[in-house]
């Protein structure tokens, strides 16, 4: 039997977890090395998958089918196409850097890395499964560890305890996934198969698609942070430990958008035509609402959290514009936002670790003490504000151009949202990093080696894909072409 490299991506964190189970808890260095090594292996294999994908051929590659429960037509079938490739790569990047920036986690380190790797297995699985059962299994697998990650290693805020954040996030996401599961059951009973490839070749009746789409849309919308279902996201991310919010905001929210493309739009294109204008309006609200609320926040993590909501709005807007530019922009934004949010959360985590506060009002002039962190923060903030030569620019440009073709008015409203983003980020940079240095923060240490490695890498990617977007766009284009064909090639 041939082994798909996708199986290897899934197995490397799993093997890491398995080894970690047998390592005594107080041997923290060994635990971290093993966690880092298995994350690095997963990352390497995700690069390998990206490089060895045959771009001249396109379609779904690296297929692997393992029978599992044939009576219910469940197979563990894996495969990757142009949409899932960048997302697999993103997951590899974020889990690797996530382990790096968690190098100073000392409290119950063993469990921490087990849960973190567990989450990455779920995410990798979602982006590579071709069977709805396993898609959903991995989907929930990715959501679940977050509860304990927030509950044990998270930090309570003034307004919310971490238990509240953990419960809110978990229950809201599980309610969303209940909708997804309902959709899967309806689809399964109608089509009699769970295989994504077979399903995407089927054509369902108009009425059926009309009903199916909103169910999936609500389900995935919760995870994608669609307004007004987004409320878990800022609170959950603000209370979560650094690596968990990196992975969650960076990658997990993309699972929602990915599901929307891969399942909702793919299986009910006619339903998408009917319902996506509604999603477009909600997405525009996302962009504006997230940006406005972020402007009013004092807590750094809340600022990043709400900016995620705002940026996910752009992804949703790109998807709902239903054209080539919008789709490619959306997938590109998923990747770009994933890297950028991971960087921002890592940086906020470092600031919090050194200064023991995340409040903008209490911080000031940090650039003197931590120039390295400042430089990276500036770059990530510029990406977030979509300045040219960063990957954020390419993404937002494509999304807005795509949206302009379908919804000119909404496009203009969304552009104002981007302007506000620039506003609150500049305000944040000025208050926290520049301005008069506060005495007690003069002695704080800059990023350590592991953190520097992670941050340099993330910043490098932001610039790399900003200057050479075609590195990703080739792959994305291959992925979205079949979708666009189904939609009637607009």
């Amino acid at each position: 039997m041939e082994f798909s490299p996708l199986l290897f991506i899934l197995l490397s964190p799993l093997i890491g977890i398995f080894i970690l189970l047998f390592i005594p808890e107080n041997n923290k260095l060994l635990i971290k090395i093993i966690a880092l090594f298995s994350a690095f292996l997963a990352f390497l294999s995700s690069i390998y998958v990206f490089i060895s994908y045959d771009f001249s051929q396109g379609g779904i590659q690296f297929k692997q089918v393992i029978p599992w429960l044939e009576t219910l037509k469940i197979f563990l079938s894996l495969g990757a196409d142009g949409i899932s490739l960048p997302l697999l790569l993103l997951t590899g990047i974020v889990i690797f850097t996530g382990v790096l920036v968690s190098w100073n986690v000392e409290h119950r380190a063993k469990e921490f890395f087990i849960f973190l790797l567990f989450m990455s297995v779920g995410v990798f699985g979602v982006f590579s499964s071709l069977n709805l059962f396993f898609f959903f299994l991995f989907y929930e697998l990715a959501i679940l560890p977050m509860y304990l990650l927030i509950g044990i290693w998270g930090s309570s805020l003034k307004e919310f305890t971490k238990e509240y954040g953990a419960f809110k996030l978990t229950l809201q996401l599980f309610s969303g996934s209940a909708f997804v599961l309902l959709g899967i059951f309806i689809l399964y009973s109608k089509a009699g198969t769970l295989d994504i490839i077979t399903l995407s070749q089927m054509k369902f009746s108009h009425e059926f698609q009309w009903i199916l789409f909103p169910i999936f849309c609500v389900g995935f919308g919760v995870l994608a942070g669609m307004w007004p279902l987004h409320t878990w996201s800022p609170i959950g991310h603000a209370t979560a430990p650094t690596a968990a919010s990196m992975l969650h905001a960076g990658v997990l929210m993309k699972m929602g958008a990915y599901g929307l493309l891969r399942i909702a739009v793919n299986f009910s294109p006619e339903g998408a035509r009917i319902w996506l204008p509604v999603v477009a309006i909600l997405a525009t609200l996302n962009v504006l609402y997230g940006a406005f609320i972020a402007m009013a926040q004092d807590d750094l993590k809340f600022v990043v959290g709400y900016s995620s909501v705002s940026h996910m709005g752009l992804v949703l807007l790109g998807i709902s514009s239903l054209n080539s530019l919008g789709f490619s922009g959306a997938v590109f934004q998923m990747f770009s936002h994933g890297v950028m949010t991971a960087a921002l959360f890592a940086l906020v985590g470092i600031v919090y670790d050194r200064c023991h506060t995340k409040s903008i009002a209490e911080l000031g002039g940090l650039s003197v003490a931590i120039p390295f962190v400042t430089a990276n923060f500036v770059l990530a903030a510029f990406t977030s504000a979509a300045l040219p030569s960063t990957s954020g620019f390419i993404a937002e440009l494509m999304i807005l151009l795509g949206a302009f073709q379908s919804y000119p008015v909404l496009c203009f409203i969304a552009i104002t949202g981007s302007l506000i983003t620039a506003g609150y980020l500049l305000r944040l940079l000025r208050r926290v990093f520049f301005g008069n240095p506060i005495l007690k923060y003069k002695r704080i240490t800059d990023a350590n080696f592991a953190e520097r490695l992670a941050l340099c890498f993330l910043s490098f990617l932001l610039l790399l894909y900003g200057i050479f977007p075609s590195l990703l766009l080739n792959s994305i284009k291959l992925g979205i072409t079949p979708l666009l064909l189904k939609l009637g090639g607009r």
């Binding site: 044939e70 509860y147 419960f167 399964y188």
Partner: protein, 465 residues
């Protein structure tokens, strides 16, 4: 041949009486009696397992894959119960072992018959043994639990008997197979009354709302191993009869009873889950959760398709492992801390990682979170319902799984997040750990490699359709 096929029941009957007689004359031999009891259960399970390939045979007593499937289920449940009792109780008397063996015998006979009077007779045997077991501890609470259980139990079994006699009045026979063949000649409205009466009796056993009131009080007062036994085996007895009567005999008039059962399933899940939300006593919480679980099992039965009934059978195994494992941990913590409150579990992940992890896995499996057994079970049952077009039912069930997650996670929060006020390690004995590990492996096996079990469940229901 005829004597051979009833060897599992025979083993229990003979060894059960032997244990009772030895107990009367040699009270000190409790260890020997316990080993004999456990061996009897294992031996019976083994001989039942050997019969799996035999073709269905028998008259009043039937031997078919369905009965074998449940015989092994009951034997395994009571094996775990017996050994758990040994681990957490100060002394296990011979009478206690005898009662467990005879309750199991009754359950096995219920599972392997298609004759109404015999079902009733054996159901009474099960009930009598369980009444005594529930009140086997010299505590007021246990007595109260036993008394409540007994009065309500007798009351509901009268309804059941009344339903059966109405059936006899119409069909002039007590054989379900004959009833099934005559079914076309009778008006469904008249039949409906007897089916409802039967449902009252079974609803009590299964823990179906509104016949569930005894469950929380009884579980709370009963010795924890017996509460576990009640929640798993006694519930499964009800499900067995339900499947035999409603699917085996009255399948052709499914549209008449399906709506009622669907309504009851929805109410059962919802009431169970909502009441579980506010419990502070973990045994009461598990009691309400077991009520909710009955609702999910009922879905599989009422759908009535092969997939649905096989799903219900599969789900029962998932439920057995998860619920038993949960009660195992509860029993041990109760023994160590003498508390049944959920707050007693604070910091359990530090005090005993193994217990905490197992309880977490068990609870998440009950909630239906992948990759554990409960998820596959729920997927099985719910997809069967979706295939029959019962989308509303599926939607209700999914909403319920989300509600249930809240109270299961409360316990997880207590164990992993809330720091303990006492950092004393909890040590559990070797046998206990081994049995718990067995169940943990079961939960993971059913969740990660469900194929063999699914195959067994599908083989078991062939003779019904």
């Amino acid at each position: 041949m005829y004597t051979y096929i009833f060897s599992p029941e025979g083993i229990l009957l003979i060894l059960g009486f032997l244990i009772l007689i030895i107990y009367i004359f040699r009270r000190r031999w409790s260890r020997f009696l316990l080993i004999t009891g456990a061996l009897a259960l294992l031996l019976a399970a083994f001989s039942s397992f050997l019969q799996f390939s035999l073709p269905p045979q028998g008259d009043v007593l039937l031997v078919d894959p369905f009965s074998n499937f449940f015989e092994i289920f009951f034997l395994f449940a009571s094996f775990l119960t017996l050994l758990l009792s040994k681990e957490v109780k100060e002394s296990v008397r011979g009478s206690y072992i005898f009662l467990i063996l005879f309750a199991t015998l009754g359950m096995m006979l219920v599972a392997s018959t298609g004759e109404l009077l015999f079902i009733y007779l054996n159901l009474t045997l099960v009930s009598l043994a369980l009444y005594a077991l529930v009140s086997s501890v010299l505590e007021a609470k246990s007595r109260e639990a036993g008394l409540k259980f007994m009065f309500l139990g007798i009351f509901s079994s009268l309804f059941f008997l009344y339903g059966l006699s109405l059936l006899f009045g119409q069909f002039r026979t007590t054989y379900l197979s004959i009833i099934e063949s005559k079914l076309g000649n009778f008006s469904p409205h008249y039949l409906f009354i007897s089916l409802v009466l039967i449902l009252v009796g079974l609803g009590f056993k299964i823990g179906m709302v509104p016949f569930h009131f005894w469950i929380p009080d009884t579980y709370e007062g009963a010795p924890t191993p017996i509460a576990a036994f009640l929640s798993v085996a006694s519930k499964a007895v009800g499900v067995t009869i339900l499947i035999r009567i409603f699917i085996g005999a009255f399948f052709s008039i499914q549209q008449d009873w399906q709506f009622l059962l669907a309504l009851l399933a929805i109410i059962t899940m919802t009431v169970g889950n909502l009441f579980a939300l506010v419990q502070t006593n973990i045994k009461r919480m598990l009691a309400y959760s077991s009520i909710a679980q009955s609702g999910y099992i009922l879905i599989g039965v009422l759908v009535g398709s092969k997939l649905g009934v096989a799903g219900a059978l599969f789900y029962l195994w998932c439920y057995l492992f998860a619920n038993m494992a949960a009660f195992f941990v509860v029993a041990w913590v109760e023994k160590e801390t003498t508390s049944q409150e959920i707050t007693a579990y604070s910091g359990l992940s530090r005090r005993s990682p193994f217990l905490a992890v197992t309880l977490t896995v068990a609870l998440l499996s009950l909630a239906g979170v992948p990759p554990f057994a409960g998820f596959v079970g729920k997927f099985y049952v719910f997809s069967a319902a979706a295939f029959e077009g019962q989308y509303l039912l599926v939607a209700f069930a999914l909403a319920n799984t989300v509600i249930s997650l809240y109270y299961y996670l409360q316990v997880v929060k207590e164990m992993f997040i809330v720091p303990s006020n006492r950092e004393v390690k909890i040590k559990s004995s070797f046998l206990f750990n081994f049995l718990l590990l067995l169940q943990l492996v079961g939960i993971l096996m059913l969740g990660l490699y469900p194929f063999p079990w699914a195959k067994l469940a599908e083989g078991a229901i062939v003779s019904l359709f």
